[in-house]
């Protein structure tokens, strides 16, 4: 509920609450339609190439009038465009890392690539976002050792869900290194760190996040 409210904060001030049900219906029909047209293996592989159409549709709804509608093929087209955007930016960031003989793509590389590729308007919001992320991560590193182990567990689980990385500790160590540079005192109350609002996602993602909740609760106790 709380998270849904956050998602409905619209740049143009429109209220999309009343259109949520139609959006969900569209998602369901889209899923059924896709399943009918694709072999199961191909369907799974196809779905992995794109972000979930429900999430994409929900974000699209934020910037059109309440009585506007979005066709299924428009949502599918944007799904493809977003994957292309990720690959496009990632490719540029990866090239930069290789030139500098680094193995890990980090946040600054992503922002650099987005700047290079002409998305100037995105840069300031993303720099602010990355700064926020590092602040919050820095605060997490001040928590007791048990919770650090929990952080490492999270990282491990995330890597396990994807293609298994050769070196699981590398990204986490990177986070340590970058966070150590932050000297600002933490300002977020401790109890807020463990309240985890979620936006509605697919069942699979909900299960993954449920695992996160269990992990947090376990170590916190």
């Amino acid at each position: 509920m709380e998270d849904e409210s956050h998602n409905n904060i619209l740049p143009n001030g429109f209220n999309t609450g009343s259109t949520e049900s139609p959006c969900l219906k569209t998602s369901t029909m889209t899923t059924q339609h896709n399943n009918n047209n694709n072999h199961q293996n191909h369907s799974n592989k196809e779905q992995d190439r794109f972000l979930p159409i429900a999430n994409v549709g929900r974000i699209m709804k934020k910037v059109i009038p309440p009585n506007g509608k979005i066709s299924k093929d428009a949502k599918e087209t944007v799904q493809e465009c977003v994957s292309e955007f990720i690959s496009f930016v990632t490719g540029e960031a990866s090239d930069k890392c290789q030139r500098e003989k680094r193995k890990t793509i980090n946040g600054d590389d992503v922002i650099w690539a987005i700047t290079t590729l002409g998305f100037e308007d995105y840069v300031e919001p993303l720099k602010t976002y990355l700064q926020k992320y590092k602040e919050i991560e820095g605060e997490k590193l001040n928590i007791p050792k048990q919770l650090r182990s929990e952080q490492r567990l999270h990282q491990h689980q995330q890597n396990h869900n994807n293609n298994h990385d050769e070196n699981n500790n590398q990204p986490f160590n990177g986070a340590y290194a970058s966070s150590n540079l932050i000297s600002q005192p933490p300002y977020v109350p401790t109890d807020q760190k463990f309240s985890l609002p979620f936006s509605p996602n697919s069942i699979q993602n909900q299960l993954r996040q449920q695992e996160q909740i269990d992990s947090v609760g376990h170590w916190y106790e």
Partner: protein, 205 residues
Amino acid sequence: MDQNQHGQPTQEAVGKNQYQSNPMMAPTNPPSETIGPYVTSSFPREKQHAPQDIYQEQLNNFWAKQCQEIEETTDLRTHSLPYARIKKIMKADRDVRMVSAEAPVLFAKACEMFIMELTMKAWANAEDHRRRILQKSDIASAISKTDVFDFLEDIVPRDVGIPRSSIAQNFDLSMPPHQNVTYPPYYVPAMVTGRPIPDQNHHGP
């Protein structure tokens, strides 16, 4: 559902006006004036001219609001897109070896802004054609009109896109029945060139 509105009082007022005008516009105005709900009445508008100034201002407001929303964010877990899927798409490139934890987090935000920008521009095209349903052709038009979206040219054909199947169209038309009563039925514009085969999906190297 609790609706939290972040923003300056003036912006909030504008938003409320736009929202309040919707019920009045829908039943009483002819279809040719359905542009009302989205564009505030304070903007003068010539039907025959593309309202570039209006959409540029909307875009500027959009970006200003993005910075403001991020400043007010205290919990980065409230995201709209799954990190795991983003990471999987990133690692589809064989040259990509390792990805730090912060990269998918940034991409989630970048993709959200990308989707919103693309959709806003596509909706402008739909509105220019007096339509209430966003079509693939609107996405294609937005891409062709924006230089920074050149890398997407091969995702959508340059000419007007055709829905992948008539079944898909029926799904769209069967959406909220009560809204179909309010507006005229969806009209497929005449196609100069037809493509019997559904569009082939292209994905980057």
